[in-house]
Amino acid sequence: MNYLKPELLEQLAAEYVLGTLHGGARRRFEQLMMESYPIRSAVWEWEQQINPIANNVPKVPPPDSIWKGIDERINPQTRIEDKQTGWRSLFLWQSWGAMSTAIAVVLAIFIAYQTSAPVDALNQVAVFNDDQNQPLWLVSSNTKTGQLAIKPINAEALEVDNKAFELWMLPTNGQPRSLGLLPVSGKRQEMVLSPQLLSVLQATNGLAISLEPLGGSPTGLPTGPVLYQAPILAL
């Protein structure tokens, strides 16, 4: 972004690093960083200049649970393997783990909707799992009202610089239709589909996720590799 004057660039980079650039301005600046090396450089320079302030904060010994959590997330099978002696029991544990995850997820949805919104309960769910059957995203929807909820569960580690995950409906007839970009972390996001998209969803048995440029597929159809697929299950 060459149109940023040097003084303004300096100012924005400094306030980005300091943390006083927030909200929409922060997000926009992050987009500019992705597009421009000089902007990234300015940020890196400021990081080197002011991050040493952190050295002055008193050290606090972290509890063991932090490392345990990191270890489990970078190596999801650790928990299972610790308890195993043979491949047969490993297999059983894994299937049991995947099944109990699915049951827990479904129960959680039921409980959430029993307590908060019994009338418009979501009546469909799709769970995207990784190779180890660990859930990554949960997508639930209501085929009457068009409500759609997306919950990232353990997708953060997948994050790729300068790429986005896009969610697609795979209708039984016709081409994939985009449901938008998936967050890799944070709280559950909800939206209401347009009547047109809802009618596509009603004729869809499966969802897919593809890797796309930032901002999503430029063509309206998947352009990157399809990374995950999940069947839509009726509740």
Partner: protein, 180 residues
């Protein structure tokens, strides 16, 4: 922070999938970074979550580190701080109260109590000292507590325009001073 050469060696091994090196990197840097998280987030559970999220990211992105990012601990501090800032901003202000930790935090050195540590800190310390007290306080509070402009107006009982100007001019002076 531990010796930079050692941290670099550990990060490089982590990028090649060596989990033992990654654990060692964590052990060497976590006490400092966890202290920072607690200071910024004020809540232990959030600080623990942010540490986990940040280090999972470090593991998966270790190979993206390069020297233009500065020393390894600069890079780690950035990852942890940006994650913590996202966390602070995504919470409602009313959720951010944890009295037990508030008390602890107030025992810790305030932004104006500086102990000089290491050479990089010496230069920064000297330049921070050249700022006037208001500018220095606004910058340090933003950095280590993640305060927004608005929160700074409440903390310092000064108008928003004044706060913005302290930070802007303070950063400009800091830059000039560090370039000397």
């Amino acid at each position: 922070m531990a010796e930079q050469a050692e941290l670099l060696r550990l990060l490089q091994a982590s990028a090649q999938g060596n989990q033992q090196s990654f654990e060692k990197l964590y052990q060497l840097t976590a006490p400092n970074l966890f202290g920072l998280c607690l200071r910024m987030l004020k809540r232990r559970d959030w600080a623990e979550e942010v540490m986990q999220e940040a280090f999972v990211k470090v593991w998966h992105h270790a190979s993206e580190y390069h020297q233009d990012r500065g020393q390894v601990n600069t890079w780690l501090t950035s990852i942890v701080r940006y994650r913590a800032l996202d966390r602070i901003r995504s919470q409602k202000p009313t959720e951010a109260l944890d009295e037990s930790h508030e008390q602890k935090a107030s025992d810790a050195p305030g932004p104006m109590d500086w102990a000089v540590k290491g050479t990089e800190m010496n230069a920064l310390e000297a330049c921070l000292d050249e700022l006037n007290d208001n500018q220095k306080e606004a910058i340090v509070l933003s950095f280590i507590e993640g305060l927004t402009h608005q929160e700074l107006t409440e903390r310092t009982e000064s108008p928003l325009g004044t706060i913005k100007s302290w930070i802007r001019r303070g950063l400009q002076s800091l830059k000039r001073c560090l370039a000397k």
